[in-house]
């Protein structure tokens, strides 16, 4: 079954075609088909997993490919490769996709284009699975673009809203800039090794087939693609705006799966990154992103925006782990983060439905009374994110701290700060939304707990947020599908047996406590007087944070003034220089020459006779001169 894992991608792909073609006419607009599809791939995943484990480590990675196209010496194969890292991604994608599909049935009820939403969701799942199954970079790129397309379509689902259209456009174009880099990098790999196959490339690189400088340049281009998709600085701007999409989409695409594609790519190619000496770049970018978005998250008031910046920040954590050379730590954080962040987003979605489309923290508060299940699961998710022992987030963050330990005190200090910030804004988010008194009685009076179709996925994900961290343990992992525990399973050239470092646990807990209590103290019981202290004390700084350090403004300026300005210049050049001067100009010159020369045409016979006679004389003389 493992070598036929492509079926996983084929099932939602077919579902997409069926639903796009017939969706509107199916009973219930085909949402049952979507859930059925998600369930079946969830089940198929276990079939793949069982088969994969049965084959045993010797048979890994499981390969299956066909010849795709050939022109002369240029041969191209397409296929799948299933190895532990793929299995981890498959686990995340199928699980979260199932939860989101179920949740969406409740969330999207009565929304416009209900069928289209589910159809595109299947397209996304198919592409995402293809992305992680691909055995070569070209297929990966194809899937990479297709997930981008699905993301574009889903962010812009409410296209009657101008802001949704703008956000979709921004997401597509920003990631597209990174994709240019990725494609260049992929082709540079082919240029150096003559293959797109990931395993072959790693093999060639380890043999030293690519020169140092060239390899470094290639990896920088690849990294651009990863940064664009994973919203790393300075490409992060699209992710918060992407919250214009329906909330379940944010949970699936913009928290759990698509945005971690960059992390997945870097983890996949980690040996190459290391050979190229590019790990430090990854580390620094991740660290900057983690700190930057942690700070910006403080000043956000929209639940989803806070979660979005939190996601950016957590992706930064993953990059930091990869940059430190610990693929397992990065992948583990990816794994746990997928569950609790999906939980938080779906929780936010539940809040939005329960309060009838309100997501500003300033209007909420005290929701736990009205929505106990949502509040409870959200609390679990928050604590997991903030890193409470022994929830999932704690273990993965612990791994990252452990990884960074080796990179020097400075980096360790900064990543600790970032961890505190995580706990702080998470606490702020939970306290302001669920605790204290309702800020708006009108909204509060209408608030109801959402139905089971939405709360059940929350409960399941909350459960996963608690237990997912335990996969790091040897015995637990072996018992539940990851033999040897997570980090041994996904060792990827970095055998790193896990053991609990109690010193780190203590430190980690201390970071959690500082951050959480800080956040809770500031915002407890709707005490906005405390929380506005910062804004009053340093209004400039506060504004800077609130304006996201002016990144968006800078980009807007660059696009409006520089890019479009250049375009106007080129258009002007084309009109006036090339067309009016060059093309029409030559026509005008011809006309003007005719205007001048027509005066030779006097219409008087003697003039013509004169010309003939003079011509005869001249020609005779010339022919005589030439002849002699």
């Amino acid at each position: 079954m493992a070598e036929h894992a492509w079926i996983l991608a084929a099932v939602p792909g077919i579902a997409f075609i069926v639903m796009a073609a017939l969706g509107r006419n199916l009973p219930r607009q085909g949402d049952w088909l979507a859930v059925l599809c998600a369930t079946s791939i969830f089940g198929l995943f276990f079939a793949v997993l069982a088969n994969f484990l049965n084959l045993g480590g010797g048979a890994w990675p499981v390969l299956n490919s066909i010849e795709w196209t050939a022109i002369g010496d240029f041969k191209l194969n397409m296929g799948i490769a299933v190895d532990p890292i793929t299995i981890v991604m498959l686990a995340v994608i199928t699980t979260v996709a199932l939860m989101v599909n179920i949740f969406s049935v409740g969330y999207m009820k009565g929304e416009p284009r209900y069928w289209w939403y589910f159809a595109v969701l299947q397209l996304f799942v198919a592409s995402m699975l293809m992305l992680v199954l691909a055995d070569n970079l070209l297929l990966l790129y194809v899937a990479w673009e297709l997930v981008g397309l699905s993301s574009f379509l889903l962010i812009g689902h409410y296209w009657e809203r101008r802001s949704a259209v703008e956000a979709a456009k921004k997401a597509f174009i920003t990631t597209r800039v990174g994709d240019v880099g990725l494609l260049i990098g992929i082709i540079l790999f082919w240029e150096a090794t003559g293959t797109f196959n990931i395993l072959d490339i790693i093999h060639y690189v380890e043999e030293g087939a690519i020169g140092d400088t060239r390899l470094f340049v290639t990896m920088m281009f690849i990294l651009l693609g990863a940064m664009g998709k994973s919203a790393q600085l300075p490409f992060h701007v699209w992710l918060p705006d992407a919250m214009e999409g329906p909330t379940p989409v944010s949970a699936l695409i913009h928290a759990a799966t698509m945005v971690v594609a960059g992390v997945y790519l870097v983890a996949r190619l980690l040996p190459v990154f290391e050979a190229a000496g590019a790990l430090d770049v990854v580390l620094v970018i991740g660290l900057l992103t983690a700190l930057f978005s942690g700070v910006v998250a403080f000043a956000q008031t929209d639940i989803k925006k806070v979660l979005a910046y939190s996601t950016v920040s957590q992706l930064g954590f993953m990059f930091v782990a990869l940059g430190a050379g610990y693929a397992s730590a990065g992948m583990f954080h990816l794994f746990t983060h997928a569950f609790f962040k999906a939980l938080l987003f779906l929780g936010a979605g539940s809040v939005i439905i329960g309060t009838h489309h309100h997501q500003e923290m300033g209007q909420l508060g005290g929701l736990w009374r009205k929505m106990p299940i949502t509040a409870g699961t959200f609390l679990i998710g928050s604590l997991a994110l903030a890193g409470l022992f022994p929830l999932a987030g704690f273990w993965s963050k612990d791994e990252i701290l452990h990884a960074v330990e080796g990179q020097g005190t400075f980096f360790f200090f900064l990543i600790s700060i970032a961890a505190i910030m995580t706990a702080f804004y998470t606490a702020r988010l939970f306290v302001r939304t669920f605790l204290g008194k309702p800020q708006d009685e009108e909204i509060a009076s209408h608030t109801r707990e959402t139905g089971p179709v939405m709360t059940l996925p929350l409960v399941f994900l909350a459960f996963m947020s608690i237990v997912a961290g335990f996969f790091i343990f040897h015995d637990f992992g072996s018992a539940f599908g990851f033999p040897g525990g997570f980090s041994e399973f996904v060792f990827l050239h970095y055998p790193h047996a896990f053991h609990v470092d109690w010193g780190l646990v203590g430190l980690s807990t201390a970071l959690f406590v500082i951050g959480t209590f800080g956040g809770a103290w500031f915002y407890w019981n709707g005490r906005l007087d405390r929380s506005t202290v910062m804004a009053e004390w340093q209004p400039k700084v506060y504004e800077m944070v609130q304006r996201k350090f002016y990144f968006d403004d800078l980009y807007q300026f660059l696009i409006d003034r520089v890019v479009l300005g250049f375009s106007y210049l080129v258009s002007w050049f084309d009109r006036f220089a090339v067309n009016d001067t060059g093309v029409d100009g030559s026509a005008t010159m011809t006309g003007y020459a005719g205007f001048l020369l027509k005066h030779l045409q006097t219409g008087r016979v003697p003039n013509y006779a004169m010309a003939i006679a003079a011509g005869v004389v001249a020609l005779t003389l010339i022919s005589l001169a030439v002849g002699s």
Partner: protein
């Protein structure tokens, strides 16, 4: 020897009357000079001992064509009315220049070229029988065409010059 002297006298006379054609003040004078010039050229044909062509020259040119021209002059009442306006156009000086250049070229070419197969003093007379044979054996078709051309041309001339009713 006498022939040559006579030839030179005729040659100078032809040049003189030809100049008279183009420089004469009135058109009638030009016409008279033209008749003399044509007759002179006819005489030249006699010097070449080709009597046939000389006869043609006298009959057609000296007779028919000049009569035609005089007729035209009378019809257009030119030469009768002494017109005050200049008889030469503005481009006369340039015309003189071009004509002089042409003359120099023609004379230069005529003198400097070594004509192949030049019989010189041994030139024999072309018999009228020979001309007749050549004309009707080798140039029959052009002869016919010329005849047709003449017919067409004169019909055309009549059509063009016809007095129309509305005039």
């Amino acid at each position: 020897m006498t022939t040559e002297v006579l030839w030179w006298i005729f040659a100078v006379a032809i040049v003189a009357v030809s100049a008279g054609v183009v420089f004469a003040r009135t058109v009638i004078h030009s016409a008279i000079f033209l008749i003399l010039s044509l007759a002179g050229v006819g005489a030249m044909y006699l010097f070449l001992t080709i009597e046939f062509i000389a006869l043609v020259q006298f009959l057609i040119y000296g007779g028919a064509v000049t009569v035609l021209i005089l007729l035209a002059l009378m019809l257009t009442r030119m030469g009768i009315a002494g017109r005050p306006e200049p008889t030469t156009g503005v481009q006369a000086p340039f015309g003189a220049l071009v004509a002089a250049g042409l003359m120099a070229t023609l004379i230069g070419v005529a003198v400097s070229t070594a004509w192949p197969g030049d019989l010189g003093q041994n030139a024999v007379a072309v018999s009228i029988e020979n001309i007749g044979e050549q004309m009707f054996q080798n140039f029959g078709a052009p002869f016919m065409i010329t005849a047709a051309l003449l017919l067409v041309a004169f019909i055309g001339a009549i059509v063009i010059a016809r007095q129309e009713d509305e005039d």
